[in-house]
Amino acid sequence: MISTAILAAEHITHIYRAPEGDVPALDDVSFRLARESFTCLVGPSGCGKSTLLRIMAGLLTPTSGRVLLDGQPLTRAQRRVGIVFQKANLMPWRTVAGNLSLPLELAGLPPAERLERTRAMLELTGLEGFAGTYPAALSGGMAQRVAIGRALIHDPEVLLLDEPFGSLDALTREQMSEELLRIWAHHRKTVLMVTHSISEAVLLADRVLVMGPRPARLVADVPIPLQRPRSLELLHQPDFVALTERVRRAIRLA
């Protein structure tokens, strides 16, 4: 198990220093993510989930503890870790295709290969007709598809998702979950996704990590042994409902 872990959090504690006093956000959080596994992180809002994700991405240095990527301490953000934010976070001056190819441009790939990969990603994310569209003309769901495509296009080993569907309406949200399952089936990555939707977490993940209220620590680690491929039909089946109840109880007891 240890040898297959690609990303690991070791005793991560984080305290936000503020003039009014220190705000503890994370308290001794440790976990390991198995290669090509899908893990969801749930917990009450404001419990420090996003802080943890930023730390896992190398965008924030924890007060103490460390993150290991492939056994090496992660000291700064790396391309090997792709990240999708809560907002789509697209560049408004770039078209859909331009936003998708940004990571490739920064990595210095030759134009022909950029074009090829961008075309493939447009297809995978179902955005073929929108290559030349600017972000302002996209719906929230489509913008988030671009964001996911952008995080995947340079083929990172780990994908971190920070409530990627948090700003979408319920219907689009379900569609996007299914879409994410489909994309993940094509690009098996190690995924860590923060969400506040329990059913979303159970539908997507192999494993759900439950965090308690601030300062957050891990209070439960629920394996989700549901068969793959999964679809939205699962939402009404008894074993799915039982698993969501387990997660819900863990959050309540925290």
Binding site: A77, Q78, I83, F85, M91, P92, W93, A107
Partner: protein, 290 residues
């Protein structure tokens, strides 16, 4: 004038005492309630111009004022044409234009990089802001003679005066533009391991450009003022010199002809900046009509 805190610098509003933006907002309603413009709407401005011209003619012909106080439009046009056909107008305009363009370039270039530095570095912001605000508080007209004493009566002093006038709006807009960049996009660039140069080229410059170009539009019109101020103090050529000369010899038509030429010059510069905006910020117009 621009009362913006460069240090605390929250990007509040896009335009501030921005005459150019004010002009825009007069024509384009802020809430885009698009009523289709009738074809004859484009004739309103020229028609109003003709009315003003008629009033001017009437006042000039009324005999209330001597012709060297209120010359008729015809005599101004005649004087202008005379200057133009002798080549004198082109020569003087060229002198002013050269001062304006060099001053604009120097001022805009310096202000942009200094603004960038201030936006990126808090210590630099704290160190420079009081002096920059003080510099802005100094009336340029008052220090123009000083600059002429130091740098001579030729082009250099005018370029410096021009650059000084252009400097502040450009600086403020650059700082606001750079500070308005969403931190999430900076995170994205970090996550993609972008080099500082890549971050500048792919994020900072395009993200700040709309506000930076707003500054350029203001600066473009101000630059003409800078050159004229310099020429008023001491010069042997240029449109400002023509005005001064005309005033000294009671050649009022010459003064008015030179003023009109200056106005045209400022409008052309503003038009060029607006054209640049259209070219570089095409994506903004696309966004307006989803």
């Amino acid at each position: 004038m621009d009362n913006v805190h460069l240090v605390s610098g929250q990007a509040h509003e896009r335009s501030h005492s921005d005459r150019a933006a004010v002009a825009d907002s007069l024509v384009v309603p802020p809430l885009r309630r698009r009523r289709r413009a009738h074809p004859w709407h484009v004739l309103l401005a020229p028609a109003f111009g003709l009315v003003l011209l008629a009033i001017w003619t009437l006042v000039a012909r009324s005999g209330l004022y001597a012709s060297f106080i209120v010359p008729s439009p015809a005599s101004v046009a005649e004087r202008w044409w005379g200057l133009a056909s002798s080549g004198a107008l082109a020569r003087h305009t060229a002198v002013t234009l050269r001062e304006v363009l060099t001053g604009l370039l120097v001022g805009v270039w310096t202000a942009f990089w200094l603004g960038y530095l201030i936006a990126r570095s808090r210590p630099v912001a704290y160190m420079l802001t009081p002096y920059l605000v003080a510099l802005q508080a100094v009336p340029i007209v008052a220090i123009a003679p000083l600059l002429i004493i130091w740098f001579g009566a030729d082009v250099t002093s005018k370029v410096i005066i021009c650059a000084l006038i252009v400097f502040f709006p450009m600086l403020v807009n650059t700082v606001i533009g750079m500070r308005s960049i969403p931190p999430e996009l900076r995170d994205l660039m970090r996550a993609l391991e972008a080099t500082p140069l890549q971050t500048f080229w792919h994020l900072e410059l395009p993200a700040a450009l709309p506000i930076v170009i707003g500054g350029l539009k203001v600066s473009a019109t101000l630059s003409v003022i800078g050159a004229v101020v310099g020429e008023f103090v001491s010069a042997s050529a240029g449109l400002g010199y023509l005005i001064n000369f005309g005033r000294g010899t009671y050649d009022t038509p010459l003064v008015i002809a030179a003023v009109f030429t200056l106005t045209a010059l400022a409008l052309i510069l503003y038009g060029l900046a607006a054209w640049l905006e259209r070219i570089l910020l095409g994506w903004q117009r696309v966004n307006e009509h989803p």
